[in-house]
């Protein structure tokens, strides 16, 4: 036999190879981007379109508690909504990937099994970071500003990406549960009511009382409210409820809780693919 067959596993370097394999999987995703630039652009343009529609088509009819400017109120909400809607992108990508033959080759190779999921995470976080940059750029061009300094603004971006990271693992788990791309469509529809039942576009005080309470406790609302606070948006203090008063705490804890539930579920599910 030739020498190449004697290449054995190098368990001493497990961590090194796990990182190297994850990077290879990330490069694979980047190569996919390079092959479908239109889709990448569409994904970036969609939230921008939503922002513009709400700011200019509907914004005139919106009232902000305390009488602030609607655009000021809207931008953080759109940023949080974009992070939350990232879930469907992740879910679709995972489902599509698992239905492809290539996953069998990955699984029959001595690569780190975690690399498939880590590569997905890195790629989706990259996409979301890019999306945030574009949205904030457009918002700045619309005349929107943050008021409490760059440090707090970066803290806000950190909270947004933290929410996205939690959504990512929910997406990975649901993608594996769904199994087929058709089922993803159902989730793509369901994210709308869940996304809108929040303080993203409208203050929960404007909703029927019980709906307002649900909206205030929506994890996305916590992030949006905390981000508004960090950007120093005037008049966005909320209705004085506990959830609104402790938005920053909830914006950290909600994603942490979601991760504590869905990260082990997703990893366990991925391991059980061989059963």
């Amino acid at each position: 036999m030739s020498a190449a067959t004697d290449t054995t596993a190098r368990p001493a370097n497990t961590l090194y190879w796990a990182l190297a394999d994850s990077w290879t999987m990330t490069r694979r995703g980047l190569a996919h981007w390079a092959r479908r630039p239109v889709q990448v652009v569409v994904n970036l343009v969609f939230p921008v379109m939503m922002l513009l529609m709400f700011a200019y088509f509907l914004g005139g009819g919106m009232t902000v508690p305390g009488g602030g400017d609607y655009k000021e109120y809207l931008v953080p909400g759109m940023l949080a909504l974009t992070m939350a809607f990232g879930l469907e992108g992740t879910m679709l990508a995972v489902t599509t990937d698992l239905n492809k033959g290539v996953i069998d080759r990955f699984r029959s190779m001595p690569m780190a099994p975690s690399a498939v999921l880590v590569g997905r995470s890195v790629l989706d976080m990259l996409q979301s970071a890019l999306s945030l940059c574009v949205l904030i750029g457009v918002a700045l061009a619309m005349g929107w500003r943050w008021h409490d300094g760059l440090g707090d603004a970066l803290y806000a971006v950190g909270l947004l990406l933290w929410l996205r990271f939690a959504m990512l693992w929910i997406g990975i788990h649901l993608g594996m549960v769904a199994g087929r791309p058709e089922l993803v469509q159902a989730v793509q529809i369901l994210v709308w009511p869940v996304g809108f039942l929040s303080n993203a576009f409208s203050a929960p005080e404007n909703m029927p009382a019980w709906l307002g309470t649900v909206a205030e406790w929506n994890p996305m609302s916590a992030t949006a409210a905390a981000v508004r606070d960090l950007f120093g948006i005037p008049g966005a203090g909320g209705g004085g409820s506990w959830a609104a008063e402790h938005a920053r705490l909830l914006a950290v804890c909600w994603p942490l809780f979601l991760l504590a539930v869905f990260f082990p579920l997703a990893v366990g599910r991925f391991r059980r693919l061989s059963h």
Partner: protein, 335 residues
């Protein structure tokens, strides 16, 4: 692992899907450096067996060793030593062939530069060098299969699994795959091949194992199996059915067989043959000399259905859990 040790050992392998047994105690031993065919209809458990051996699926019971390593205890050691060509192309359709092979090379931990070199080498060997940046999704079926095979060979595996490698390929693609398999075996690779085609097993394999309902029901060389199931057959269709009685002894003498079957409605005579050429020329001459006109004379291999009929007393279609009948009729190889 000593060279004389078997490359694959399977003992009492069991796997159940939702209450239905896919493997019901399969035993299999494949000596190193040989080609072993697992022959059976749809639903016989062939793919389940390959997926377990390739570490994609965990067995419910029994033992499986590949290249000296237990698939359950040392899956990574197994993975460094195997190649897998499944029923569906296991390559990234959105990337080019080169990008695919480079990616797999990196994931085999060859390192960036050797991975690139190996990709180049394999593209050349499989005639895919000039595919450039084209995405694999735009390849022809045969090209995709060749790339898939190239990806399975990145590590020069000791054991290569081929799960129905030619299903869905045109005759040219099939010949390409067969030739590639033959050249591999010359290099010392052990090949486990699953197929629904007796002809394919006959062409490629040193030994054949016939599986049904997740169990091995017969094993041996192609010749041994053919001896058990009656080997090749000759079939003569006469122009005039009234001459059947006169033709039967002539065919009997030409083939040296007394197990002659006649089908009056279709004016057909069938008989097993040992020496294909002698039987064919003998039959043609004898019929011509007697002035009996034949509409068709065909030599063919037994179909999988006939193999099953002999071994189990029922046809592959009834025997298989979800098998169709269409695949068993495609393989009658005429002369």
């Amino acid at each position: 692992m000593a060279d004389s040790d078997p490359a694959i050992v399977v003992e009492g392998l069991r796997k159940t899907y939702g209450g239905k047994p896919a493997l019901a105690g399969l035993d299999l031993t494949v000596p190193a450096g040989t080609v072993h065919a697992v022959l059976g209809p749809n639903g016989a458990g062939k793919t389940t067996c390959v997926r377990i051996l390739a570490t994609l699926l965990r067995p419910d019971g029994g033992r499986a060793e590949v290249a000296g390593y237990d698939v359950r205890r040392d899956p990574d050691q197994v993975r460094y030593r195997i190649g897998l060509l499944g029923q569906h192309a296991a390559v990234d359709e959105e990337l080019s062939g080169r990008q695919n092979l480079e990616m797999f090379g990196r994931l085999y931990h060859l390192g960036a530069r050797p991975a690139r070199a190996r990709a180049e080498e394999l593209l050349e060997r499989f005639g895919l060098t000039d595919t450039g940046q084209k995405a694999v999704g735009q390849y022809s079926g045969g090209m995709r299969r060749r790339l898939d095979l190239a990806a399975s060979l990145i590590m020069r595996p000791r054991v290569l699994f081929l799960d129905e490698p030619t299903t869905g390929l045109d005759p040219r693609g099939r010949t390409e795959v067969w030739n590639a398999v033959r050249s591999l075996v010359g290099g010392g690779t052990t090949v486990l091949l699953t197929t629904q085609y007796l002809e394919e097993a006959d062409q490629l394999a040193d030994r054949i194992c016939v599986v049904d309902h997740g169990r091995s029901i017969a094993e041996g060389t192609a010749d041994q199996l053919k001896a058990r199931i009656g080997g090749d057959r000759i079939e003569v269709v006469l122009r005039d059915g009234r001459q059947l009685d006169a033709a039967v002894p002539l065919v009997g003498r030409a083939t040296g067989s007394d197990a002659i079957e006649t089908d009056t409605d279709r004016r057909r005579i069938g008989a097993p043959v040992d020496d294909r050429v002698a039987a064919l020329t003998g039959t043609v001459r004898a019929l011509a000399a007697a002035g009996i006109e034949a509409e068709d004379i065909v030599l063919r291999r037994p179909t999988l259905d006939e193999v099953f009929l002999h071994l189990t007393g029922k046809s592959a279609a009834e025997g298989a859990a979800d098998g169709g009948t269409d695949h068993t009729t495609k393989e009658g190889a005429g002369v």
